[in-house]
């Protein structure tokens, strides 16, 4: 099939085939259009070269009908491309509900990745075939971009913000991981490998090796060590609200307004507690900026995700 052609990168994810199909469609349009134009240029150039005796009778300087044709036709053709492209875009931007989550921190010039069971990797990521994988990514310094050509996916990794990327690998193998956003001297060295394995193989790999605490456990430790627990204790007797089941809940804010407690909100609550204050509480929580790094933050958030049932909070 196509994938044997050296003109395409390996096709190893569910979206790769979709992107390639659109690519081929565009190539077909381009070929038709450019051959049409080149053909007309050549034919006219030969037939109406100055010495030629071909009749010039009926030469015209304009035609409303032609103008309409070549305005509307490119418009219609390009709208088909737009719709198709937008469709794929929605697909690659909307992760399914049930994903395997991985934390990614970009830093000049390396990728630090951590699985939820605590296994860490640097510049290499193991994933199983056939499972939707979602990366939650942030950067410690400048903008990077996580790019896996074989999966046809890419997303910028920004400082001070979480972005996500998801894919589902379809065939085992080793594929390039590139940093696609220029990030300084060793931008071209910020590369690595994605290792796609069969599920059993992957489970074995995941269980082996040196393993740190899982992010959630590490986050729990931080929660105690940083003293969060003094204000946020589960019995809800501290100065702060109980954080049981906070993740995903809807928060009522002081001064009206509501917020959904997603990753970005929790991150902000820890770094800029005053930015959005929970209704009914005083803005007494100090900022933890500088006391906890990007990885620590991700771990605390993982921990917060694990505690308590998802519940409506007020």
């Amino acid at each position: 099939m196509w994938s044997d052609l050296p003109l395409f990168p390996a096709r190893a994810s569910t979206s790769a085939g979709q992107v390639d199909a659109l690519y081929l469609y565009l190539i077909a349009i381009s070929a038709v259009m450019s051959l049409l134009i080149a053909g007309l240029l050549v034919v006219f150039a030969v037939r109406y070269r100055r010495e030629s005796k071909a009749s010039r009778l009926g030469a015209s300087n304009g035609s409303m009908r032609l103008e309409l044709i070549w305005t509307i036709l490119p418009f219609v053709v390009s709208m088909t491309v737009f719709v198709w492209g937008a469709n794929i875009f929605f697909h690659v931007n909307r992760p399914p509900d049930d994903t395997m989550n991985i934390l990614v921190v970009g830093k000049r010039w390396m990728w630090k990745l951590q699985h939820l069971n605590g296994r860490r990797e640097i510049n290499e990521l193991h994933v199983p075939v056939g499972r939707a994988v979602k990366l939650t990514m942030t950067s410690e310094d400048v903008i990077h971009s996580f790019f896996v050509p074989a999966f046809r996916v890419k997303a910028d990794v920004l400082p001070g913000r979480y972005t996500t990327l998801w894919f589902q690998a379809t065939r085992p193998g080793r594929y390039h991981l590139f940093c696609a956003e220029y990030c300084g001297t060793k931008h071209s060295g910020m590369i690595g490998w994605i290792v796609v394995q069969q599920p059993e193989e992957f489970e074995a790999w995941l269980g082996g090796g040196v393993r740190d605490l899982s992010p959630a456990r590490a986050g729990e430790r931080l929660f105690t060590n940083l003293g969060c627990i003094t204000c946020h204790n589960p019995e809800s007797k501290g100065r702060g609200p109980s954080l049981q089941g906070v993740f995903g809940s809807t928060i009522r804010l002081k001064g009206g307004g509501i917020a959904t407690a997603n990753e970005a909100y929790l991150r902000e609550s820890i770094l800029d507690p005053q930015a959005r204050v929970v209704d009914g509480y005083d803005p007494v929580m100090p900022t933890f900026r500088g006391l906890v790094g990007e990885e620590g933050l991700m771990q605390i958030i993982e921990y917060l995700k694990t505690i308590g049932p998802k519940a409506e909070k007020s």
Partner: protein, 216 residues
């Protein structure tokens, strides 16, 4: 005045003095459109961050000196008035009055910059200048730094325009003392007037946006 007569005619590449004046006026308006976009970038940044950090904006805005800001607004509006009177004097060919109004405008413009530098000095003293030594006592110190970054960028760019305007006016005052302008030819005065009013209008936007956040 032979010199003035020469100026009353037109430069060689124009067909008539009217054409020359039309061209100059259109040119000035195009230039002002450019200026609007120049400040437009700053206003966009302002809008984005103000909606992102409404609380910080209120807090940081409170720390500005409303009194000095208001005085400056009045000073600048007066200077626009004197400038307009200057243009009128040029139109009527009243040379002395023209010089007088120009000097008045220059003095008012200078006063504005003087007051502005007093305000800047206060900001330095209070450590409200963004950077490593920035200190802000408020709940949202971090985004407050954004407010002050924009405050300095916007008022700084405005002040730079004032300085350029003062240069133009000084030059005009000199030329009008030498009798270069007549009712038939006073385009430079008119153009400088347009520029001055523009700079004034920018301030009319800056003042409420920076000093009056959250004060109803």
């Amino acid at each position: 005045m032979p010199e003035a007569r020469a100026m009353a005619s037109h430069l060689h590449h124009f067909d008539s003095a009217d054409q020359q004046k039309d061209a100059a006026t259109l040119g000035m308006w195009v230039f002002l459109i450019t200026e609007i976009l120049f400040f437009g970038g700053l206003f966009m940044a302002y809008v984005v961050y103000r909606s992102g950090y409404p609380g910080a904006w209120v807090e940081a805005s409170r720390s500005l000196d409303l009194r000095l800001g208001a005085i400056n607004t009045a000073v600048l509006i007066c200077s626009s008035l004197t400038m307009a009177l200057g243009v009128q004097a040029a139109q009527l060919g009243r040379r002395k009055a023209l010089v007088g109004w120009l000097v008045a405008t220059i003095l008012l413009g200078g006063a504005f910059l003087g007051i502005k530098s007093v305000e800047y000095a206060h900001k330095f003293a209070e450590h409200h200048v963004p950077g490593p030594s920035f200190v802000f006592h408020g709940a949202e110190a971090r985004p407050a730094q954004l407010f002050f970054s924009l405050y300095f960028a916007m008022t700084g760019m405005h002040a730079l325009h004032m300085v350029i305007g003062l240069g133009l006016l000084l030059n005009l005052a000199r030329q009008s003392r030498a009798g270069r302008f007549t009712p038939a030819y006073y385009t430079p005065v008119e153009m400088a007037g347009l520029y001055w009013h523009f700079v004034d209008i920018v301030w009319i936007f800056l003042f409420p946006l920076l000093y009056l956040v959250g004060r109803h």
